[in-house]
Amino acid sequence: MFDYEKYLRLEMFPHIWCPGCGDGIVMKSLLRAIDRVGLQKDDICMVSGIGCSSRLTGYVDFNTLHTTHGRPLAFATGVKLAKPSLNVIVVTGDGDALAIGGNHFIHACRRNIDLTVLLFNNATYGMTGGQLAPTTPTGKVASTARQGSIDPPFDACKLAIAAGATYVARGTSYHSQQLDRLIEGGIKHKGFALIEILENCNTYYGRPNKISLLELLQWEKDNTVNVKAAERMTPEQLQGKIITGVLHQADRPEYVALYEEHIARVRARAGAAA
């Protein structure tokens, strides 16, 4: 049995998440991945924004920074650049990262700064009561789209790849063992790593759309295909399916390392001049 308690601030429990929420499943997966990589608690800085999933940083025993809505990547960039020895992990939601924080998201990808970003995608604004998110599927009901959304949703992974992220993966709260490996890969990756996690909000997405918790989880299972399996499938078979696994990996210079080299060059030139 995995010892979760050594990573938790037990006095913070019970947590705020609803029964059936995917956030707890993902948190446990994150802790298992951290343990597998062997990171020390003092060497981890976990940064989050605002939203249900961003409350995770209050529950874990690391250096934790619960910031403003949409801005965790900006704060995390400052932490990482100022103290590169810290392993900086960002916890953010779909509204946090793709709506109010969309600009920070694409620019952090572009820099390829060494951050591991867990994007909890529950397709809604859970904390504020189920409003339309930039990830809500077209046609689904939200408290600000009661006749069904006319907005097309973002694909976070395609966005990250286009913006320059060098590790892009997608998992689900249903496939928790796969998720462990995806997060582990993201932590080990030197550069900007995105792990998008499809999860559920049965309270504010499921209920108004008349989908049960069981159906939400079943959907995660039935509508996703691992990237390896997808390679052997026809376009017809892949119709309507969401691909999971490591979708993209690239080798490109990491931002903090480039800045360290810049400092070394500047100082060598100053030394040569003196």
């Binding site: 409350r55 025993d61 250096n63 801005r71 900006a74 704060f75 995390a76 400052g78 103290k83 800045y259």
Partner: protein
């Protein structure tokens, strides 16, 4: 001549360059910014100077990100700053509120230009005085300093870092475009002449550490991330350990402590200059470049036998209530020239409480206030 004096440097510096040089001398090792007139020279200068001293400069994607990045960097122990102007200062306000709540030391330089909105990008104004006080939402303390010369930009930048670190609070340096862009001969202090204050550090082991606990000064010690003191930082109301709590008792005590630490620290924060006030029957209260015009007007008025003097706040927030109250007891009239339609004058009126009339001299045309306009008001009241 002492060794220290020998190592002083005489330079012709622009206000914005003096700000950047002072930041380096104060130990600032992290800058995040976004280009905006008329402050961009600060970012440009820091992009050159920081790597030379092993520090880090980053140009972020927007003003909000720049403010967030410096707060993240400050959590690792770095002295940090950003620089902007009115529109960017507006964008930074939410994260400035976060810095107040999470008690993260930082410097924000606001080179004031004409507003509202895009306004006058390269013309001077003093219209962010109230934004510096109430720009972010919620009750909160505020600290803002307003230098009036290039040398003073240097000194006040260092003082701003000192206050930020000692009191764990964001500090705004309110510079107007004239001071930021003018060049003056400055003799910079030698390294040994610069007094630096550092943030209070924990003296207890991690298991006893309270990152947001009360202390006699109201300022809790601050541990840096990555040094064994693992704790939580949040913009929510929080208990002494930093964990979210919303009980009425916790909320009330946090808000009152945030205010109290600045009230208790006032002797270290407040600063003003008095010019020819000893025999003055008329008093001027002015700051920044308007104070330079006021000094010129006072010279001209004194040459005509009018006893007028200047009270110049270098600390704008918190307000120098004592000296202004004393001035109101001494003089028949107080004149407040400002490059806005009346912002700091509201504080002067509040403190004067009708003990003497308070008069305004205002310009909102993107031009400095000429000494003649202040002199005309002096002669009218003499």
């Amino acid at each position: 001549m002492s060794t220290q004096t020998k190592s002083r440097q005489v330079k012709l510096l622009q206000g914005n360059e003096a700000c950047a040089e002072a930041a380096i001398a104060a130990g600032c090792r992290f800058f995040a910014g976004y280009p905006i007139s008329p402050s961009s020279e600060i970012a440009e200068h820091m992009s050159v100077r920081l790597p030379q001293v092993g520090g880090r400069f980053i140009q972020m994607e927007d003003e909000i990100a720049a403010m967030g990045a410096i707060l993240g960097a400050a959590m690792t122990g770095a002295k940090v700053m950003t620089a902007t102007s009115g529109p960017g200062y507006s964008l930074k306000q939410e994260n400035i509120g976060y810095a107040i709540m999470a008690e993260i030391p930082c410097l924000i330089v606001d080179v004031m230009r004409g507003g509202p909105s895009t306004g006058l990008p390269t013309s001077p104004a003093q219209s962010d005085v109230m934004q510096a006080r109430w720009g972010t939402h919620g009750d909160h303390p505020a600290v803002a300093l307003a230098p009036a010369s290039v040398r003073e930009v240097y000194d006040e930048t260092i003082r701003a870092f000192n206050i930020a670190e000692r009191f764990r609070v964001p500090v705004t340096l309110l510079v107007d475009e004239i001071i930021a862009h003018m060049r003056e001969r400055v003799e910079l202090p030698a390294r040994g002449e610069i007094a630096l204050w550092e943030r209070p550090r924990p003296t207890v082991p991690p298991d006893q550490y309270l990152p947001f606990g009360d202390t006699p000064t109201g300022v809790p010690p601050m541990a840096n991330f990555g040094e064994g003191y693992r704790y939580h930082v949040t913009g929510l109301y929080h208990d002494p350990r930093g964990l979210p709590k919303d009980s009425p008792e916790v909320v009330d005590s946090v808000m009152r402590r945030l205010m109290r630490k600045i009230e208790l620290g006032a002797p270290d924060i407040l600063k003003h200059e008095e010019v020819l006030l000893h025999d003055a029957a008329l008093g001027i209260v002015a700051y920044g470049s308007s104070a330079r015009s006021a000094k010129a007007a006072i010279r001209m008025a004194r040459a005509r036998g009018i006893k007028v003097g200047l009270l110049r706040p270098l600390t704008i927030w918190p307000f120098i209530e004592g000296p202004v109250a004393d001035l109101a007891k001494q003089v028949r009239h107080i004149i407040v020239p400002e490059m806005n339609l009346g912002q700091l004058v509201l504080e002067v009126e509040r403190v004067v409480r009708g003990r003497c009339p308070v008069h305004r001299v205002n310009r909102v045309s993107g031009e400095p206030i000429p000494p003649d306009e202040i002199l005309a008001k002096i002669e009218e009241l003499a």
